[in-house]
Symmetry: none
Subunit: 145 residues, 2 copies
DNA sequence: ATAACTGCAAAACTTTTGCAGGAGT
DNA sequence: ACTCCTGCAAAAGTTTTGCAGTTAT
């Protein structure tokens, strides 16, 4: 469970101000406990009579992403999705056949991250990945047929 | 180098018709030899007095992607980028600050792919990735200030 | 006090769609 | 001939921006 209190400390520590809107946006993301797009957050806040302008939502998602409090992912829905960066980075292996999802050890990505840092001087953001493919069970079915 | 001839055979074989516009779009993508967005292709064709309507470019990119002649990637520029499939697999490092894009050696991902296969029995699809983060130049600016 | 932030409205952008005519097989 | 494809124009949808006023530090 994520503590809104701690998140707001992070916000302050990042040099950003703790505003009503910022707090509400992060609260919504915590409650949703997963990915959400700007429009979805805006709609949710409106439902709770906690109006925050859509442009403010966009500006905040960008700002919070820049200071690494949020991570941004494109799930091919046609809009950007955001998520609170947790204590431990988590990743998922998603089976394209059966939809089964399993967690992926962060170490698998870390090794690649180190290589990228060393060879390219590029600091990769590996907070949250979804890797698509075929799970063991579906591969077995495939080779059986 | 990619042969336009062979590409058009693929087009026909996929059940699509070989039209002037389709050919020009694929030719442009071959010449650009890399990823390009719809607008960029459209602009390039216009420069060469080979007018193809922008909506036609979009419709073709989608159709060619659906039959796997093109691959689609989001490089975080705000638009979709397309590329001819069949080249050696390669990936992109995209700077979240300045938008700069550099190529990433497939070997870096391959090692991770092997680990995932070995440890999870999961067959990951690692054809074409975009990894976001901070490029060397932007990291230098950050540590400077 | 001062710099950051917000709401509002309008615009910028990419991408999609309806339709009538044109082109490939 | 039979579909598929294209151009045109208009719209849909997401995201950005200018600006004046408000708020956090």
């Amino acid at each position: 469970m994520l503590s809104l209190q701690k998140l707001m400390d992070q916000v302050r520590h990042a040099g950003l101000r703790v505003t009503r809107q910022r707090t509400l946006i992060l609260q919504a993301l915590c409650e949703l406990d997963g990915h959400a797009g700007a429009e979805e957050i805006h709609r949710r806040l409106a439902l709770h009579q906690r109006d925050v302008d859509l442009s403010t939502v966009y500006r905040n998602l960008e700002a919070l992403r820049d200071v690494r409090i949020l991570s941004q992912t494109d799930l091919g829905h046609g809009w950007a999705e955001f998520e609170v960066v947790g204590d431990r980075p988590h990743h998922h292996l998603v089976c394209q056949r059966c939809g089964h999802v399993q967690e992926l050890d962060h170490a698998c990505l870390d090794a690649m991250g180190d290589t990228i840092r060393d060879r390219y001087g590029f600091e990769p953001i590996l907070d949250h990945w979804a890797i698509f493919g075929l799970c063991a069970a579906c591969r077995a079915v495939d080779s059986g047929t």
